[in-house]
């Protein structure tokens, strides 16, 4: 899966977890900017991302997954490791 495909699918994930976000807001979304993104939101988002991408996030990873950009970068890193 290339970076563009990852971002597209991740946008879909964000759109169902944070239904109030507009398409324009999703790429810049973070725990700081999205009111509904609390610890529960993180667990839900991580659950959706894990099922959608077939990956598993360690506890240390989850602590870092605090924005759309960071999740996209993490997914890209996982994809690169799997491809290697």
């Amino acid at each position: 899966m290339n970076p563009s495909e990852i971002r597209t699918q991740l946008e879909e994930c964000f759109s169902v977890v944070f239904a109030d976000l507009t398409a324009e807001e999703i790429p810049t979304a973070s725990m700081e900017t999205v009111e509904a993104w609390d610890s529960l939101g993180t667990l839900t988002l991580v659950g959706v991302v894990e099922q959608t991408f077939g990956v598993s996030a360690e506890i240390d990873d989850i602590a870092e997954l605090v924005s759309f950009e960071k999740i996209a970068a993490w997914l890209q890193a996982v994809a690169s490791r799997q491809a290697a």
């Binding site: 169902v16 839900t44 659950g47 959706v48 099922q51 959608t52």
Partner: protein, 581 residues
């Protein structure tokens, strides 16, 4: 259901105003997390409109949550209990409790806690629709018995929960999730997610949370139970073909290794006693069926079969008359037949009907079918009205007109008729000697007679095989005749009742004209007690009821009366004196 899908269902339904929002209370000792999401999605998909708002209670405090809900109940409530809710020592999030000397105390405290839950749950059930789920996860490995040996304390705990469930159901309208059904939908070995349990207090795997929510939602919003079963008879209600095997040749018992049909009858009988309507659509002789269902060893009470449509017309016509007599929609009915083409024909005419193929010869398949029937027709409460429904319908039966498009169905059947000229095989002789309904004159032949006739000059021996996109029927018709001048004289002709309503008989007559170039087909017909379908065909083709003797059909009359034959007809070149093994 995947979490993404669940969230999408919730998002797509959107927000609703207060009046059109369905409020549900979820009481559980764990973090509700994904269970809440899945429950909201499952319920959303079960409501035609409106959003679903699942309100969850306090973490680790089921008694407190129950008090909250009792004070202000929603339109329905779900209570999920796990072992750790009965005593924290039966979970993984408390420490220091897995001591052999404390096990008796754990069992006792679990019993006390269950007793505390009984009253508020009974009260809640009186105020709202209540679904309860009893422990779905394994007990922790805290008991001294070795693996494989059931520990006494474990047995006591399970017994406490079972007694609790019984007392709840006896106390009021509480709906308890069936653990056996849950076992089918969610693998017990993979239900527990220790990572999630220890880090966030949510003990379930995603798949288990989804299955649990689905089961609970189905208790709160069950699908309407189906109302009627229309069943075939031959090789479905019983083993064997009544018209060919005779009254004593059909069976449903262990001795004949056909007991699976008794199981099927048993289930139909049980459902019938619950008020489910059971009718018959069978291609059969009416009188013969009437005799068959009088057999004293029938498991199904024959008086409960209504209506019985035993005839040689399309099954969809029979189904239409049954639905009309019952006065219910096709979407409340299951049609069961062993023949794929009959199922397809009925499905084409009634797209809403649930069609199931009877798995003839497959005991496991039959057990699975009767299990599914119980699920489709099961109902929590059976009223006297349900039980009396059949009687009232019998009195009020009335037929309605609905057009069935047989041509459209046959046109799409992708049927292929293979004609094989002048080849003798044992199946042809068997077919000739066991077929009754479509039998030109009832004459039986032994092998010597057969070969003698077939070997005569100008003789015609025609074997017919049939297949379509639904299933092959194999050799289903045999005709023995001869050419005399400009006529074909048909001495014997049979067609298996499995192959009726496909216009195979018309294709055979057309082939006779085309193959011989004759101007007439003369059938040496004799009316018998059983060959009504054959008489009907001759009547249709000649335009008049046949009388025993020579029935003559001219090529012109045939062409005038023959309906469209949609099947592709493949004719194998004639061979003389060819004998297959």
């Amino acid at each position: 259901m995947q979490l993404f899908e669940a969230l999408k269902i919730i998002r797509d339904r959107g927000k609703a105003d207060d009046e059109s929002t369905h409020r549900v209370d979820l009481v559980c000792g764990c973090t509700p997390l994904h269970l809440r999401t899945f429950l909201a999605a499952e319920l959303t998909s079960r409501y035609d409109a409106g959003a679903v708002d699942v309100r969850s209670g306090l973490f680790g405090d089921i008694p407190g949550s129950l008090q909250q809900v009792l004070a202000e109940p929603s339109e329905s409530a779900v209570v999920v209990l796990e072992w750790s809710d009965l005593d924290p020592r039966l979970g993984y999030r408390s420490s220091g409790g897995w001591r052999p000397d404390r096990i008796a105390d754990v069992v006792e405290s679990a019993g006390v806690r269950l007793a505390q839950f009984r009253q508020p749950l009974s009260e809640l059930a009186e105020k709202t629709t209540l679904a309860v789920c009893l422990p779905t996860l394994d007990l922790p490995p805290m008991f001294p018995s070795p693996s494989g040996l059931c520990d006494q304390a474990v047995l006591k705990l399970r017994s406490l929960v079972a007694d609790f469930a019984v007392s709840l159901v006896e106390s009021g309208p509480v709906r308890i999730l069936d653990e056996r059904q849950l076992d089918r939908d969610s693998n017990p070995a993979t239900r527990f997610n220790p990572v999630s349990e220890l880090r966030s207090g949510f003990p379930y795997s995603m798949d288990h949370a989804s299955a649990l929510a689905s089961g609970l939602a189905s208790l709160l919003r069950p699908k309407p139970a189906m109302k009627g079963i229309i069943t075939d008879l031959d090789n479905t209600f019983w083993a064997g073909i009544l018209g060919e095997d005779g009254l004593d040749g059909i069976s449903w018992d262990l001795d004949h290794k056909t007991h699976q049909h008794a199981i099927y009858q048993e289930q139909l009988a049980a459902l019938s006693r619950l008020g489910v309507l059971v009718g018959v659509a069978s291609k059969n002789d009416t009188e013969l069926v009437e005799q068959a269902i009088q057999r004293s060893d029938l498991v199904f009470p024959h008086g409960n079969l209504f209506p019985i449509e035993a005839n040689w017309g399309p099954k969809s016509e029979s189904v239409r008359r049954i639905l009309s007599a019952w006065n219910i929609g096709a979407d409340s009915v299951v049609f069961i037949d062993d023949s794929p083409i009959e199922l397809a024909e009925v499905q084409e005419a009634f797209p809403e009907i649930e069609c199931r193929q009877f798995p003839t010869g497959d005991e496991a398949g039959v057990v699975s079918l009767v299990d599914e029937l119980r699920s489709l027709f099961g109902r929590a409460d059976v009223s006297d009205e349900d039980r009396l429904r059949m009687q009232s319908l019998r009195a009020a039966s009335d037929l309605a007109d609905v057009e069935i498009d047989t041509d459209a169905f046959l046109a799409k059947a992708e049927a292929e008729i293979t004609l094989q000229w002048n080849v003798f095989d044992e199946r042809s002789l068997q077919l000739l000697n066991k077929t009754n309904q479509f039998n030109l004159n009832g004459c039986r032949l032994d092998e010597a007679d057969w070969r003698k006739r077939a070997d005569q000059p100008q003789s015609i021996l025609l074997g017919v095989s049939y297949t379509d996109k639904f299933s092959p029927l194999g050799k289903i018709s045999v005709l023995l005749g001869r050419v005399e001048g400009k006529a074909v004289v048909v001495d014997s002709w049979v067609l298996s009742c499995r192959a009726f309503s496909r216009r195979i008989e018309h294709a055979v007559v057309r082939a006779l004209f085309e193959h011989t170039g004759c101007e007439q087909v003369i059938c040496r017909f004799t009316a018998t007690d059983r060959n009504g379908p054959l008489q009907t065909t001759l009547h249709e083709l000649t335009g008049e009821p046949p009388a025993s003797g020579a029935v003559t059909l001219s090529h012109f009359t045939f062409q005038s009366n023959c309906p469209t034959i949609f099947a592709e007809v493949i004719s194998h070149e004639p061979q003389r004196n060819s004998h297959a093994a």
